[in-house]
Symmetry: C2
Subunit: 140 residues, 2 copies
Amino acid sequence: MSNQEGTRKLPSHLSVTGQDTADDSSTCEHIGRMLARISDKWTILVVRTLGRGPQRFNALRREVGEISQKMLSSTLRDLEENGFVTRTVMPVIPPQVEYALTDLGRDFLRPVYGLADWVIANSSRIDAARAFYAKKHENE
Amino acid sequence: MSNQEGTRKLPSHLSVTGQDTADDSSTCEHIGRMLARISDKWTILVVRTLGRGPQRFNALRREVGEISQKMLSSTLRDLEENGFVTRTVMPVIPPQVEYALTDLGRDFLRPVYGLADWVIANSSRIDAARAFYAKKHENE
DNA sequence: CAGTATCCTTTCCGATACTG
DNA sequence: CAGTATCGGAAAGGATACTG
């Protein structure tokens, strides 16, 4: 079941999910389960922020933005469970807990940056599209 | 730009936009709003599926997988509102409605494939990490 | 400081029924 | 075929209080 790709076969610039791939429903559901675990807003933002370096809890919270302590702690717990971050408790008083990306988490940084950069670069296009859509449907 | 913790080495993963640390407060929230609109599981899967070509509603539904008609229609409406897809109604009986990516949607395909490909390529690593985490915390 | 526990409101989402 | 409308349970998520 565990089909770790031992041979580094990086296909091409085109995606392995392209049209030539047999993409049956089980594959799709598998992708769906994985995506459900990692493709939410807070996960992306937290990973992206941790990409700038290890952070302690409250510093991380300030840097991420408007995240509640509940969401940050649960997001970090999920990230730790999925092997993306490590949680290191320093035995001092007051306690310090440092979060850092693992190798897997740093690898994940690549698609995360890809997504975040795209959003930053194209947010004005989205805003324009939304304004256009709103104007077109304002009489409904 | 200045890091208050001295000369910590920032991992300069190349950002397409060249954004490093200039997004502390408002930009981060802006990214968050955008991410909240497009980074959910169904949006990613639907865009990825539409990347293989225009599709009608039920064909799309079968191809995406276990998505309800409610979620598919609302996801498609959001995608249309954000300017990622067009909705074309063919005036025939029975009605046919074709969904296709816009230019913006096709651009979005690149980070979406990046994310989906990464998930496919690394799901076994995530599974392994989860198993390890579960074993480590089984006595709790 | 770094959380957990609890309450409570909001939102999500599936199921079902109905429409052009 | 391609949806919308409505209901109800489940889950997400914020606010507050409390703990080592």
